[in-house]
Amino acid sequence: MRHGVGRFVTGFLALPVGLYLFYVVWPFLQAAGYSLTDWGGYSDRQQFVGLDNYLRLFSDELIRKAFWHNVFFLVTVPLFTIALALFLAFLLNVGGREDKAGIRGVFGSGLYKVIFFFPQVLSLVVIAVMWQQIYRADGQGLINGVLMKIGLVDENDPITFVYDPEPFLGVPAVLWWLLVIAVWSGAGFYMVLFSAAMQSIPKDIYEAAILDGAGRFHTFFRITLPLLRDTVSVAWVYLGFIALDMFALVYIMTPSQGGPNHASEIFASVINFNAFQRGQFGYACAIAVALAIFTILLAALQLRITRRERIEY
């Protein structure tokens, strides 16, 4: 009897586990293997070079630049996305008028939910191409066109968006413009995630708080946010991964894939440059492995910091 169950479970799991090992784990291991060689990517010639590639990482100026740009996204993408998503979710679920019918979202929240979620349905490439038109750096761009019409932008000096490396708050402007897209495209999903979590919070907690005279500010910070802690923490980890990536946006939106003049260089663009333009697959693999280790460490750290006793309700 028990033997039969074991066989059933094994049979059920073998294929997916096998596929996972072959298509996910094995390539990762291979990349780690190649990171110890000087493989160029186009032949079967490769030589074992030990940790040379990893030592090179530390003196590579481009990597240093990419690192800080990734750190910028690591801080800002989760922060802004979660803040915006929480704000929207709160309005849509418990931000409405407090009347006899109980706790509910603002008027028309169902419609807003669909609209805010919409970017999530689009492929990131489609989003990037769409934003290329929004950011187009002449009078035909959506933003430039409108601002020129109302006279806020000089026709001879359009906003240059992702072509602008000038620092804003110490960070190249191009990164801020990319951040806008990342937050816009991500907020909808986390809004829905937080909405689901908020709906599982019993209404009577809110009702009791409101009876005790709590306003919106207090209900949000004293009830909603603490009870969403787990969800927010998971969201933070996911968004951290996204922030360490950002490849598609940088690749499609910026000049020279990381430009102008390296102002938007990130790990992934450096990997791409080394692997596919310089023909240094071994070195590119080393950067990728370093990035993977960095990512795992961050996730572990994040989950550890936010670990707390579960609140049962």
Partner: protein, 467 residues
């Protein structure tokens, strides 16, 4: 999480590793020098003759991959017909794609296609292919008799074609399209206004106020892809500082960027930007070309593929003509040299299973009949002599005219094909110069520093050019 960009990094890693998976299925992960002695493939070797110089074996198959970009792929089907008429028993499996690297790179080390047109934005880096021994030297193709004209294949090629495909002394890349670069203008507009296309920057700076007075920007350029403005910058450097200066730059000679004539050339461009002679905004290649077609700017610099690329949106009455890049005038060392050369390269992978048929196919591509069809269908010259003789097109005619008056030396620059690092740096700096964020002097300093860095880096294989 369907739109998780995390997937992209994973795809990248997976692709990198999947390529590796194909490379060394059994040799293990950390194998040093895995399988560096591939068995020479002598299969598919039939009897060699003058008519069949590579010994193509009948009843074999040859796989051809064509880049389907600005030139389309119809011309290749014509070549296939020419090939098949001679070798009816050889199967040609032709496919076309825009994703050359994505599709072909993972196969290079195991079972690649026999003929790969390595072109477009997603092309494989040529110097890496050469350094890795991944593509086949084609010197025997040059020495083979031409398909349908007297002499060898080499005799049928336009000047520069062999040089453009030669790396480390061997001929690897058959560039099939012949491109002429220069400044384009609308002849209808210029005749109406009585403007003459300038030959020097001084003439351009004199004309510019008149153009501006008509509400037209004197110049527009592609601000997104750094290699567009770079053509123009390098052409000016060649004209001003002469051929040897550019050869020295390509060869990473010490202080090559500080040679006499280089800085003044770049200062012309600095002045053009400072005097606000550019169309405001940051446009990419098609946007800038369209702005030019819409009459917002007077000049744009690009190659002869322009007409084909913009064919759908050329306004009626617009007369595209190309004129030579501007020089500096009396001090120029090579004022009349024209920027022209062969592009759209075809390679034969070293591990191609049917190299004989691959080379035979290339002979068909370079045939008289094939290149005439190419010029007719693509409105660009093929890199064989006389391909454009029968084509009636005013844009192509102006390019022909330019070539007729050109001296033997053609402007050509190699360093960006030799070294990916210099390629990237020079693209970035070209963009920065055109955006007015670096000066000509800073451009020179930074390029010299980048060149010195490459020269010192022992992990980069060095390449040189003689002419």
């Amino acid at each position: 999480m369907s739109v998780n960009p995390e997937l992209d990094r994973r795809t990248l890693l997976r692709r990198a590793a999947a390529a590796g998976l194909l490379v060394t299925p059994a040799a293990g992960l950390l194998s040093a020098c895995a399988g560096s002695t591939p068995s020479p493939s002598n299969d598919n070797a039939g009897e060699k003759s003058d008519d069949n110089p590579f010994g193509v074996q009948e009843n074999s198959a040859v796989k051809v991959v064509i880049f389907n970009g600005g030139l389309g792929d119809q011309w290749a089907k014509e070549d296939q017909a020419i090939f098949s008429a001679k070798h009816p028993d050889v199967t040609v499996n032709m496919s076309s794609t825009q994703k050359i690297k994505t599709e072909e790179q993972p196969k290079m080390a195991t079972t690649p296609s026999d003929v790969v047109m390595n072109s477009g934005a997603d092309m494989m880096d040529v110097s890496t292919l050469v350094n890795e021994g991944a593509i086949e030297p084609l010197d025997d193709l040059l020495a083979a008799p031409a398909w349908d004209s007297p002499g060898t294949v080499a005799d049928t090629l336009l000047p520069g074609t062999v040089a453009d495909g030669t790396f480390q002394g061997k001929f690897y890349v058959v560039n099939i399209a012949y491109t002429v670069w220069g400044n384009w203008y609308n002849d209808a507009l210029f005749s109406k206004e009585g403007w003459a296309p300038p030959k020097t920057f001084d003439e351009f700076f004199a004309l510019a106020p008149k153009i501006k007075a008509k509400g037209i920007a004197p110049y527009v350029y592609d601000a997104v892809h750094g290699y567009y403005p770079r053509w123009a910058l390098m052409a000016t450097i060649w004209k001003s500082a002469g051929k040897q200066a550019v050869i020295d730059i390509d060869n990473l000679k010490e202080n090559a960027w500080r040679a006499e004539g280089v800085l003044p050339a770049l200062e012309q461009w600095e002045k053009l930007v400072k005097d606000r002679l550019l169309l405001p905004g940051r446009l990419d290649h098609t946007q800038s070309q369209q702005a030019w077609l819409d009459g917002k700017a007077a000049f744009i610099q690009v190659g002869t593929w322009l007409k084909n690329e913009m064919a759908a949106t050329i306004p009626p009455g617009f007369e595209m003509k190309i004129s030579d890049y501007w020089g500096l005038g009396a001090t120029d060392k090579a004022p009349n040299d024209v920027y022209a050369g062969a592009g759209e390269g075809i390679v034969v992978p070293s591990k191609a299973p049917n190299k004989a048929a691959a080379k035979e196919f290339l002979r068909a591509v370079l045939s008289k009949a094939g290149s005439a069809k190419f010029a007719e269908l693509t409105k660009s010259l093929a890199s064989t002599v006389g391909s454009g003789d029968k084509v009636q097109d005013s844009a192509l005619a102006s390019a022909n005219e330019l070539m007729k008056n050109a001296p033997k030396d053609l402007v050509s620059v190699k360093f960006w094909n030799f070294y990916a690092d210099l390629d990237k740096e020079s693209q970035n700096l070209s963009q920065e110069l055109m955006a007015g964020r670096v000066t000509a002097a800073q451009f020179v300093d930074k390029m010299q520093a980048a060149a010195d860095k490459v020269a010192k880096d022992s992990s980069i294989t060095k390449q040189t050019r003689d002419a």
